[in-house]
Point group: C2
Chain length 438, copies 2
Amino acid sequence: MHIVLLSGGSGKRLWPLSNDIRSKQFIKIFKKENGEYESMVQRVYRQIRRADPEASVTIATSKTQVSAIHNQLGEDVGISVEPCRRDTFPAIVLACAWLRDVKGVPEDEAVVVCPVDPYVEDDYFRALVELQKAAQRGNANLSLMGIEPSYPSEKYGYIIPADKGQISSVKAFKEKPDAKTAGEYIAQGALWNGGIFAFRLGYVLEKGRERMNFTDYDDLYSRYGSMEKISFDYAVAEQEPSLQVMRFGGQWKDMGTWNTLTEAMEEPCIGDAVLGEGCENVHVVNELDVPVLCMGLKDVVVSVSSEGVLVSDKEKSSYIKPYVDRLDQQVMFADKSWGSFRVLDIEDESMTIKIILNPGHRMNYHSHDRRDEVWTVISGQGRTIVDGMEQPVRAGDVITMQAGCRHTIIADTELKVIEVQLGKEISVHDKHKYELEQ
Amino acid sequence: MHIVLLSGGSGKRLWPLSNDIRSKQFIKIFKKENGEYESMVQRVYRQIRRADPEASVTIATSKTQVSAIHNQLGEDVGISVEPCRRDTFPAIVLACAWLRDVKGVPEDEAVVVCPVDPYVEDDYFRALVELQKAAQRGNANLSLMGIEPSYPSEKYGYIIPADKGQISSVKAFKEKPDAKTAGEYIAQGALWNGGIFAFRLGYVLEKGRERMNFTDYDDLYSRYGSMEKISFDYAVAEQEPSLQVMRFGGQWKDMGTWNTLTEAMEEPCIGDAVLGEGCENVHVVNELDVPVLCMGLKDVVVSVSSEGVLVSDKEKSSYIKPYVDRLDQQVMFADKSWGSFRVLDIEDESMTIKIILNPGHRMNYHSHDRRDEVWTVISGQGRTIVDGMEQPVRAGDVITMQAGCRHTIIADTELKVIEVQLGKEISVHDKHKYELEQ
């Protein structure tokens, strides 16, 4: 199976765990059988491999997520990088062009497209394998999966199938309705539209050429920013007469808000937390090293990270986005391809961060125009290269770098470093990258 | 007026703002007219000065609070240091011996004793001046102030006055009752016993000599640890036949719990906090530099510091102590006589802290046996002395110190330093102090 996972943008609705560069799908919040935690992306990737060990997985996403994806899934996963955000139709066409022109997938092979972040069990991915087979058989140009609704939701579009068969033709698409209308749709046998499609590669490439007039992947990639923002539903699904829908009756949850996310948590607390007297239906996700104590709370979610603290009634947690938008804060934590960093302290003319490099990884070789830096290695072993000169380093070593000096650090073991940045205008944009001559 | 303020122990009931070395009375939580915040100690000290500009103020407390007191009140305030905790009778006698033998106060002068942490208005301190005058007149050996109860509290002992006069003799003392009994006492005209006493200095010294058999301040101080733990109420007030009580009808709040403390806050939030949709009667005290967002909460207090996060129903906040006792955590923040420090990061073999030195102050000259240290100066100017050698330092300078090396840093302006400690057994007890030859 070729599967394309659409990995969306910043996850402000799960603030403070998600931020501008760490989306909700990368938060390690799901407990595995071995007791470790995994992210939504890791969980989905593992589930796909279990449903189809031969699956080729491609993630369609923006540049900002590439580091986190490699960090969490390794280097085997395919990534179709969107130069900018253009909605689902251009994103799916770009991923298809990447599959054909970069990966050499023939145009008559079927591809499944779905969001990266459903909270589902293995039956969902087995159903995707069936959907892909249905698309491969070619009875319809486009095959959708429709979710059997568990309540009259206002959050989803609806698909009205022609009959009650496992696979049926489609009578109509409906936009997100109000609850009453949703109830009427459901009475007619309607299914939720979860944005899950399957088709032969050539079909979508043809639709893409019609609307975007490109020759190949490189051409589309280079002109991607000028493409119209349009959804796949609108550009393709709702226009297509040769259409079928397969129904899916298993568990399917959208992890978009704290309310739904906490439902998926195995235990009430992740991290250092104590639920004291009188707590009912309280969930805590604490990423810091200090304890969270809750007393006498009901139906509340508490989340603590380097970015901030959320304390919310669970119902009300769906409405945090506009408040988070207004916070406009510094990114305090990020996963990178080489490891991670965390901001420890911010002053007017300094910033102190903690850097963790994964074994065998290194930062870019880079310099800054307007700040000096001091590294104190606190654990591990590795090497620094400063203005071309390589030196071994280990815990206790101190390296000072003036503005303008080129530098990197290479981890031989896991390496932890306290970095103090000093200057009047400290900014992530003050950075020049260089090739390392080795 | 001579006034002795009894400053109690660790304030676990206001965790995470208070910790083992920062008691509740030092938390800057009260907004002044100029918009700055002051602590309970600062507020009380200012109120006393306003009621009696000539007042001599002595704080009876343990060694651990001396730095914080000087830091918040300056060097003018008197401090009677208790070598260890022995309850209120020994503490008051020690403070009285200090007043006579160290400060030279004559034995026939009246002294007022009260807790350091009532949340009151200026009328309370004007009443204390009256209480002191009553004690000076000498109509009774011991003069108490009784608080007119606002509800049948189970938290206080009660004083039953002989009549309804402003000053009356005392009919009986009553231990903390249940609510029903409290109501009966109040019907009889009972007053709360707030631990507020006035007497001539010689009277308490005589009581102290009788029970503790000491000669002078130095003698009592040196044998303090062997003294019986006993309260002033039990040892003196309840035995004394020549007793009067003065009633006080103004505002008097005990700031012992988050519930009462938040009642005293001028605004719902201190620090970076947003109260979003549906919040009612919510208070936030946030000492960190990242935002707290609250949604849909009712009757909740949220407090965030380097020590941890408390989220509690206000009523239930009275019951946090046993939970906090069990946390048994590292002190993450402390005010010192020379400034303050904050723990930024803890690893197995390193700890990173931020140090702020007040202008003109310095650390002790000291060394460690089992850790190296690295200082990176992030702002300000000063001098370091390392193994006897003095050097000027300013922002950007890095100083490395091996285990065993003697060192200190002196602030000429306010000086901020990131200190990285490196070693296998990092402990606050690994410290030797030295005199500085200058």
